[in-house]
């Protein structure tokens, strides 16, 4: 990722060189030939609280868009990691599984979660890719979370 792709929206970083599944806080970065890398955006990470454990799938596991592929556990929160696309897991970030803090520190780079190969390239078209749409969505979500008290002041 180049620094040019990185923006700050209301105090939270967002990378504009990839696609987003707004409901799940997952990002998808195409890396060529139906290959993608998937991770979690910093807002999803921050509002979960301090991460305690990540349960990630094995390579070869089938992904179904909208279905959990793993689980995130924070100090007071547990929730699914929901796949933004359908396909098959090719690689898992063992470093992030061993140290979930990596996802907090470097959500767009070293803190990726899985690499996958898409079964249906049309899935990408269902995600947010337009930079303006991404920043608008992000700003609205940040405002919601601030209102609900999920973001520290």
């Amino acid at each position: 990722m180049t620094d040019d792709a990185l923006r700050e929206v209301s105090g939270f970083a967002i990378a504009l060189d990839r696609a987003y599944a707004p409901a799940t806080h997952m990002w998808v970065r195409p890396t060529g030939d139906l290959h993608v890398t998937i991770g979690m955006d910093p807002l999803g990470v921050e509002t979960s609280g301090t991460l305690a454990q990540l349960s990630l799938p094995e390579p070869g596991q089938v992904l179904i868009a909208g279905q959990p592929f793993g689980q995130l556990e924070a100090v007071k929160f547990v929730g699914p990691l929901t796949s933004p696309v359908s396909g098959t897991v090719r690689a898992v970030n063992a470093a992030a599984a061993a140290d979930p803090g990596l996802v907090e520190r470097e959500p767009f780079t070293a803190g990726w979660l899985i690499k996958a190969i898409l079964s249906d390239p049309a899935d990408l078209g269902k995600l947010l890719t337009d930079p303006q749409a991404i920043t608008d969505w992000y700003a609205a979500r940040i405002a919601d979370y601030r209102l609900s008290g999920a973001i520290a002041r």
């Binding site: 509002t47 609280g49 556990e73 924070a74 100090v75 547990v78 002041r153």
Partner: protein, 356 residues
Amino acid sequence: MTALLPVLGSPAKISPDYVRISYASAVALAMKSGRFSREFDFGGINLLLNYDEGCLSDCGYCGLARTRQADYGDQFIRVEWPLVRTGELVDRMAEHEDKLTRLCISMVTHGHAYADTCDITKRIAARVKTPLSILVAPPTLNRHRLETFKAIGVDMIGIGLDAVTEQLFRSIRTDVPAGGLKWEKYWEVVTDSREIFGPWKVNVHTLVGLGETDQDLIEIFTRLRDQQIFSYLFCFNPEPDSRMASHPKSPLMRWRRIQLAKHLIETEGYQAGQFDFDADGSLVHLRASRSAVDAVVSQGVAFMTNGCPGEQGEPGCTRPYGSYRPSEPFRDYPFPPAATDLDQIKAQLRLDEVLG
């Protein structure tokens, strides 16, 4: 020649100017980001005195114990307890007062703990009307000091007895490398507190799973109930690096039955004689009608977190996920259990085995 001046370190972040707060409290006061897995109103704020030396007691199950292997850093009872400035904390409490239900200062065994608890209590009471408890450190107290707590606005006193028999208390809290806590002293503080604070204004924390029997627990529940003192249940949860790190948790079935028994004794007036035990002290039979027990179970209150109440008697100190991880089954519920929760509770209780 140039004289070398001593390099002064930054001032220690210790009480009374700093305290630790539970992660849930920090979220409620927007001092930490985060959410709970299930949405519910939360307003129980738990503070813990903080000293460089930690706690000078040495209890086998505790993350603050003096001879625990690891430096406890920000991790107490497994999760992060952020260190905050007391002044900022009190400002936040005042700002969020409308949603606060109960405040509590947990003392630790330390020479400054009493004076610092008084100082912090006064700072809070001057700004916030939410009822305040102190979870006391008996070795630091006497009757006069308890009277002072009452005089400066403390509403309830909690005593962390934890080990419910004298023998267990001695083996875990007295006869340990840097132990020395006295069973008699704990009960002296229970008695004094009851006299000073009045009926149902004192509670004794009882920890389930340290090695006590069901019979031991039921005896202490009835003994305390008869003195109008609450027993508050806590579920032993092995603390990494403590001496009891590999000691198992109570099975869920036992924990649920103990929750139910405690509720029946404290709220429904059951007597010790209504519980039958085997030779090992395990509960084997409950002398009660099935319909009466089913009605109590269905209310769900028996399985909610035991804690000092809010001003109107509502749940006050609810410590969400205090003795289990968010990914584990609830041990105590910080909200009224929903219908699906009650189905699980009923399955865990296996009441057919002890009724009828």
